[in-house]
Amino acid sequence: MKLQSMIGLLQATPVTVNDPYIAFKEYLYVSCTDLMSDALAMICTNPAQTILLTGLANGQALRTAEMMDINVIILCRNKTLSEDNIDLATSMEMNVFTTSLPMFEAVGVLYKEGLKTATRNDDQNI
């Protein structure tokens, strides 16, 4: 699904956009977590097609996405970034949006539209 469509479904607004073409890119997978340890340990999909959906609006959410090569973060519950973290996101060319939906509803909307989980619980590999 194009990010543009996802943004529309979630009624999300931009916090900082650093790729002018990002809205037209296709995304297939969502990692939904407030726990960055889980994102780092369990995301197993192509990062270029993966979005991080989280309620954690801090530098560590940005850093986690950076380490995983993910370039789109959607914040739930109207969370936004501090000015310092907007600068950090810009330096990483990260694209961050915010939606008023709580995480459960945001995930439900995207799941219903066919997006898949980006994570797996593969204990045998840990």
């Binding site: 340890s37 780092l40 380490m67 090569d69 840990i126």
Partner: protein, 141 residues
């Protein structure tokens, strides 16, 4: 041979990840595969966060030669009481503050080990030393 050393302060969440970000850029400059760069970045970031959460501060040293990309994390204590427990997924001694930053779920060390080619962990009350290595040539992990 290239060596670069970084100082790290305990509990400095503002800077957390900046060293790993720099090391990731260096890994890219060495022409590593995208997958390997990600493994370096994830392992390094987990270890950097561990040092910020759990240690009194210390140093991170990157060593690169023709065959290996090695990162050494050396702190000044208080050490890991039970290394075997610390390697178990889900076991943690992290504070509520650390958990509110999105970490401290007890996944750090197991995830580091999963992503590296060599893993060495030594600890005493005087400090912890973690040495992780990535083969620069050929398939690994």
């Amino acid at each position: 041979m290239m060596i670069k050393t970084y100082d790290l302060e305990a509990n400095d969440f503002t800077a957390a990840g900046s060293i790993s970000s720099d090391i990731k850029k260096i890994a890219k400059s060495y022409g590593m595969s995208v997958e390997m760069i990600r493994r370096v970045a994830v392992a390094c970031y987990e270890a950097e966060i561990n040092m910020i959460i759990h240690s009194h501060g210390g140093q991170i040293q990157l060593n690169v030669d023709d065959d290996w990309f090695t990162i050494v994390f050396r702190d000044t204590g208080p050490g890991i009481e039970d290394l075997e427990l610390a390697m178990q997924p889900g076991w943690t001694t992290a504070s509520v503050d650390a958990q509110s930053m999105g970490f401290g779920a007890g996944m750090g060390l197991p995830n580091i080990k999963k992503n590296v080619d060599t893993f060495e962990l030594l600890s005493s009350p005087k400090g912890t030393l973690l040495r992780i290595g990535f083969r620069q040539k050929g398939e690994s992990v």
